[in-house]
């Protein structure tokens, strides 16, 4: 009898060890995969393309974007990304990087911003914007987010972004907060940043734009938000629509002090 008990105990111990080993090897494999990915970030290719697009004379007006004002003065790129979205006096609007690029592409180069807004991600000028956001964000790599909240439009955008973040609706009753409102949660094996506060350096808002290995694409924050709304089972958010910019202000202000690693690398 004692022998049988020992055997059972040993079997149970072996099973438990096997279970732990299985768990460990799975998370080890994921860690290895991520380390492997970090070795070379294909976002660099998009950065190179973006720098070229910034300097190239293009569009109906055959002009470059070198005089584009991203918030720190005409042509100043370094440090601009970590202060966006912000209020712009010339358009009378709070703008994120992508909506500001549309303004510059329209006023400087003569592109039709409405046509670009209607263009699907990854096609035509949308594909060029991917390069531009990769390069522009890279010029602020290592800098810390510091969004302005001085203009009333900026504080209003923050308040509206916060309310949009908690806005539950749709067939699943989801809001942004359903997935990103608590610390230390995940969907399947994917870790979820808590975006109601600063989630840390290079996490959440501070990690986009990013190169996505699974799709081989460079996603700006607009596309990231678009896919969030898809998974939230919401209708389709317009490119650079007010809700996307207000959410950018909410997340960006929450991320104050976080170091930007964009363009980052994602699974």
């Amino acid at each position: 009898m004692r022998k049988l008990c020992t055997l059972i105990a040993m079997a149970v111990a072996a099973l438990a060890t096997a279970a732990v080993a299985q768990q460990k090897s799975a998370s080890d494999a994921i860690a290895e995969y991520r380390a492997m990915l970090a070795d070379g970030n294909p976002a660099e290719l998009f950065e190179a393309k973006g720098e070229d697009l910034w300097k190239q004379k293009r569009g109906p007006k055959k002009a470059s974007l070198e005089q584009c004002n991203l918030g720190k003065g005409a042509g100043v790129v370094k440090g601009a990304f970590v202060e966006l979205p912000r209020w712009f006096a010339d358009t009378g609007r709070v703008q994120d990087l992508e909506s500001r690029l549309l303004t510059c592409m329209e006023t400087l180069q003569g592109f039709d911003s409405k046509a670009i807004i209607q263009t699907p991600f990854g096609k035509g000028e949308q594909a060029n914007i991917e390069g531009l956001v990769a390069w522009i964000s890279a010029q602020s790599r290592g800098l810390r987010f510091n969004l302005s909240q001085t203009h009333v439009a900026e504080t209003t955008a923050f308040e509206l972004g916060k309310r949009a973040f908690f806005y539950r609706a749709g067939p699943y009753d989801f809001s942004c907060a359903s997935c990103h409102g608590q610390e230390g949660k995940r969907i399947r094996l994917q870790d979820l940043p808590d975006l109601t506060k600063n989630p840390g350096d290079g996490v959440g808002f501070a990690a986009w734009p990013a190169y996505r290995v699974s799709s081989g694409e460079l996603w700006g924050m607009q596309r990231r938000l678009n896919d969030c709304f898809r998974q939230q089972r919401f209708p389709y958010p317009g490119y650079t629509s007010d809700v996307t910019i207000a959410l950018g202000v909410y997340m960006g202000v929450n991320a104050r002090g976080a170091e930007s690693i964009a363009p980052a690398l994602k699974r």
Partner: protein, 216 residues
């Protein structure tokens, strides 16, 4: 463009209001509704009417990370409880094997899904819950459901003794608000995301002693 004008106008309104009477708080509720309405369009099965909130979603959104006032939460729970329809044939459990497939399936109701029919919807369970010991790719937004029936002493789901937990579980899947006003879980029965047969399969996954949820 319409949306951009809305924000510009809202800003002008906010500034004007601010100058008129030493910055009163803007009507964020109205501005939010305006912003939401101007920012989205229909795409496939995902129509803009999805943005419309019922009273419960409005109250839970308003509460943000907190909870609505007790009286409001009570009403939400009561309404939800009354929405629940028990299975027509009185049978609560289907096939746990089918239930496991549904639990794994995270598809449904997005603008890239073809129809909103229950047959095209998964249960999405693994996105948020641990379900079995074997599947390690589970989410943690909801509580673990591993040993769900076993931990609740369900040895024979058909018995009278199991009846309360069986009905509780059905109710939770049908309309999660019945026990938690601002539950994070979709209302699978109430909103027609799953049909009775699919919900029965999930019931079996959770409560059948033979299911890997309870037997492993």
């Amino acid at each position: 463009m319409k949306a951009q004008r809305t924000l510009a106008m809202a800003t002008v309104a906010a500034i004007t209001a601010g100058c008129a009477s030493m910055a009163p708080t803007p009507d964020y509720t109205a501005l939010l509704q305006q912003m939401m309405n101007g920012s989205f369009r229909d795409e496939g099965i995902a129509k803009t009417e999805r943005l419309k909130q019922d009273a419960a979603n409005a109250a839970c959104s308003e509460a943000q990370t907190g909870t609505p006032p007790d009286a409001v939460a009570d009403t939400i729970r009561q309404d939800a409880l009354q929405s629940v329809r028990m299975p027509k044939d009185g049978k609560f459990l289907g096939d746990w094997r089918e239930g496991e497939k549904l639990a794994q399936n995270g598809r449904g109701m997005t603008w890239t899904d073809k129809t909103a029919e229950p047959r095209d919807n998964g249960g999405n369970c693994l996105n948020c819950h641990q379900v079995t010991k074997e599947e390690i790719a589970y989410g943690t937004i909801g509580p673990s459901l591993y040993h769900y029936g076993k931990d609740r002493g369900v040895t024979d789901p058909q018995s009278e003794l199991s009846r309360p937990i069986v009905e509780y579980t059905w109710t939770k899947i049908f309309n999660s608000r019945a026990y938690n006003a601002c539950s994070g879980m979709p209302r699978f029965g109430h909103l027609g995301l799953m049909d009775e047969t699919q919900m029965k399969h999930l019931m079996a996954l959770l409560l059948d002693p033979q299911s890997p949820v309870n037997s492993h």
